[in-house]
Symmetry: none
Subunit: 544 residues, 2 copies
């Protein structure tokens, strides 16, 4: 009825659990795979490649049952071995028996690799592809063939590369996937080669599998789509061997939001799933136990952040002219960074984002701006420390309850030989805190002075203790400003609430690193207490 | 004579110090800018855009003298204000007076922004561009014009966008730079629009300035080059506002190594500088106090890493068929093939660079290789700490005199109210050192624990005291590895000898930050003592 009906369908094939698992330092457990599979279904990809049954116990266990509800659950594996029949190849048997909807075979399509890596003939390899595809179809499964090294193979021997793709297509493969296995092919080459291939195999039977070795996996994938392929393979957050695979987290918004693609193609991702993408990307990084890339396209915390003061006021007048897409469409937010170049409009936008209602004409805004600039000139960096900024703003606006009052602290680090002659280093901290007229004193040992202080500070905060039990310090960065002795030290601390998963950053500045660290630690605790007590605790005294 | 003579020149314009400074969380000091400028000269870019004189005190100070030897030192700023004459615009005056070789003006080329952001007329804006360019040329400077929002502007009003570019060209701008300010333009659009612009302005007067908001800044830059532009703007490691600028660290190897570009273009980067690129990229990240991206194209630690699997044996047979470029060309390493032999040749090259003569067959090399690998696996980063590596090498090779022996240290930091009610923080350190059977004990106060330790350590080193009087700690960086509590802390210290001006880096690793700092401090002192006593002092005892 609408233009929807005339759009071509473009399919997304996710290989996070297979090619993504090749990433240096990544090692998925069965539980990880199950959780990631759910995340992929939440996104709405058409295919989930789950792994290589038979290659390791995890992947075999993962294919003991079908793990997807909507996406085609896909097993990866090699084509039939040379010199064996289909019925006499145990590897192929495992693939056919796996509880999958589809099989994605990897097949050599560069004659050099056929000879060197497989040690077989070009003809045997073609025959292996044909018989393997037929076996999958016979087993009632959809067959896909990843033509490994397709582009390099095509450059070396176009006829043979093409013959591999054609035999797969003619044997009944639903998809023939052109792989840039080494990742060195450039977009214009992809476009040229796909254009030639499409003379032999229809585009709605062709896929693209790109790697990021020249930082162009996304561009290569889109070049292939423009040249006619209708399946795109990639991974969440661009995970993958070496420099990663094509990043679905970047591709999906471009396909959904840029008219060139959105007007021509329909993909399986709903608008609601698109609006969930920033969250999915961050959750996935949490699963991988790594900090999300702040600068990631579309989903990074800085993807819609503006620093420059002159831009900020124009940005607020009409965000569309300064943003290539609307941040909310991908579940992200506009951020106007508060820095020493900031004007009042930056400040207002930031306060609004933090949910702090202030009238535009409120005189305390001028005071806040003055304090921010003054503190930044002494080394504070509020744009990197949201939570400290929020605290500062609330303090200037007279809103922060005085949960506790630090009376003093002391920390000692000693390196010496112990009684049995071992060289040891001991760190011990004492913190004295006053809460509602009670004096609480805690002592703790730690791995270092900051760790000892952190533990001592959070050991007994009286009535607030239950609220901070899930607090954890996850990162700690130190920078010396101005250089040299007597310089100022800036400490940035990243904290996490293990209950909610929320992360926040606090900053401390002092000529003394321990002092600076302690400021950031205290800010982190107070920030969490504010989050947890919003509307519940009555301020004891406003610190203005 | 050769094909070299027939190649077209392609220019690289670096904006790390200007657009890169817009990155969320980045805040360059004058010293940072000077150091980064040296790094950029090491790479060999044609233009270094140093900042915006007049916008802030750092940039103004940076332009008080010419900071480059080879590259064109470029100041960034706005064109003449509407309603003012060239001679009566203080901002323009600052630009013309800055000690730069070139001026890069930013000019609006989207009529909407002319109206909304500048509040002027289309004609006034054109006139401002023309007069500003002429003023630069008259002042004996090369003029460049960044046409802001060019691609979005072109889509909205092609005639006006083109008119802005043309007026800049006709007024004598050496380069008219087409900017994708919001970063949302796609490669095929860049190609189409550049192809049209080039009908009016020759390609060797056009540049491209791309942002990474769809993960295609590199692809957009290359698409523009293919369409005819001959200047590419970008930043080291892709630094820049939001998702970053076009990454020169990815672009340079592609332009130098991929035949499509290498056969057609000559760029100012030598093969030796290309082979230094991985190192430059990592040093820059160290300056920014952030972990290098392991998955970065070309220069990432994993860029040529293959996880053992089906590829491994074939890779060993012929790496070329599994790598899109030879890792050594960009100064990187193949990770699967790190055989002891390959590692040993790296080590030998490094020792030779440091002037340590060792025979290729020396068995202690195997021991050194083992120790380096073991220590790097626990967090040491010798790549960034030359002096500590030299000490380690000399120790394993049995060459370091034992100048002194640390018996113990103790440091205390206390925050409390003093007798007159002021909140103070006191840091005090005690260091016990044995030198030639004499026990020396020193105590010192400092701005913080590390400063106190540093002062106490260098207060009395007996006979060596005169040799270390010019030693100064100039920078101190801390990184937490693996994240979380109980994680390992790596400290990098930069020291300077104020007598000779020499700078060196040392590293310490420990779960305790004070311990790690102390290791790096001691390494720094010992390194200086070795430099000063070479051939003068007889080793007391070799530590093997």
């Amino acid at each position: 009825m609408t233009s929807q009906a005339t759009k071509e369908r473009l399919y997304l094939f996710d290989t996070t659990l297979r090619d993504g698992a090749q990433t240096n330092g990544i090692d998925f457990s069965l539980e990880d795979k199950i959780a990631i599979c759910e995340l992929l279904e939440r996104v709405g990809v058409d295919y989930v490649e789950g792994g290589y049954p038979g290659a390791n116990p995890t992947d075999s266990a993962f294919f003991e049952k079908k793990r997807t509800k909507k996406a085609a659950f896909t097993a990866f594996g090699m084509t039939k071995r040379a010199g064996r029949s289909v019925s006499n190849d145990p590897g192929l048997r495992l693939l056919l028996d796996a509880k999958s909807d589809a099989i994605c075979y990897v097949a050599k399509s560069w004659d050099y690799h056929v000879k060197v890596a497989l040690g077989t003939t070009n003809e045997e390899n073609l025959e292996g592809i044909r018989q393997s595809v037929e076996a999958a179809v016979e087993a009632g499964k959809e067959a896909l063939v990843d033509c490994e090294h397709f582009f390099d193979g095509y450059k070396a021997n176009p006829d043979y590369a093409l013959a591999c793709a054609k035999v797969a297509y003619e044997a009944g493969a639903r998809w023939v996937v052109l792989c840039d296995t080494n990742g060195g092919t450039l977009p214009h080459e992809v476009e040229e080669i796909v254009t030639t291939v499409i003379e032999h195999i229809p585009g709605d039977r062709l896929g693209i599998h790109a790697h990021n070795d020249t930082e162009q996996a996304v561009a290569n994938s889109l070049a292939a789509v423009r040249a006619g392929v209708r399946q795109v393979q990639g991974t969440l957050n661009g995970l993958g061997e070496r420099c990663g695979n094509a990043n679905l987290t970047s591709l999906i918004p471009t396909l959904k939001l840029k008219p060139e693609y959105a007007d021509r193609f329909e993909i399986g991702i709903t608008d609601a799933a698109l609006a969930d993408l920033t969250n999915v990307s961050h959750v996935f990084d949490e699963m991988l136990n790594r900090a999300p890339d702040r600068h990631a396209p579309y989903v990074g915390a800085s993807a819609f952040a503006t620093k420059a003061g002159i831009h900020a006021s124009a940005l607020l007048k009409d965000p569309k002219t300064y943003e290539h897409v609307e941040p909310a469409t991908v579940g992200n937010k506009r951020r106007v960074l508060v820095s020493d170049q900031a004007g009042k409009s930056n400040l207002l936008a930031e306060l609004e984002r933090l949910g702090i209602a202030v009238d535009k004409g409120d005189r305390r805004l001028d005071e806040l701006l003055r304090v921010v600039k003054e503190r930044e000139s002494t080394g504070y960096a509020y744009e990197a420390a949201d939570a400290s900024f929020e605290l500062l703003a609330r303090r200037v606006l007279g809103e922060v309850p005085k949960f506790f009052d630090i009376k003093s602290f002391r920390v000692m680090v000693e390196r010496r030989f112990n009684a049995i002659g071992e060289l040891i280093t001991v760190s011990e901290a004492v913190v004295k805190v006053e809460i509602e007229d009670r004096m609480l004193m805690s002592v703790a040992e730690g791995n270092g002075p900051v760790n000892a202080l952190d533990i001592a500070l959070r050991k007994d905060l009286g009535p607030y203790q239950p609220l901070i039990e899930d607090l954890e310090l996850v990162d700690y960065k130190v920078r010396i400003l101005n250089g040299g002795t007597g310089a100022v030290t800036r400490v940035l601390i990243e904290s996490r609430d293990n209950g909610t998963g929320e992360r926040w950053f606090t900053v401390g500045v002092s000529s003394n690193i321990v002092d600076a660290s302690f400021q950031a630690l205290v800010d982190s605790v107070v920030y969490l207490l504010i989050q947890k007590t919003r509307g519940e605790v009555r301020p004891i005294a406003a610190t203005a």
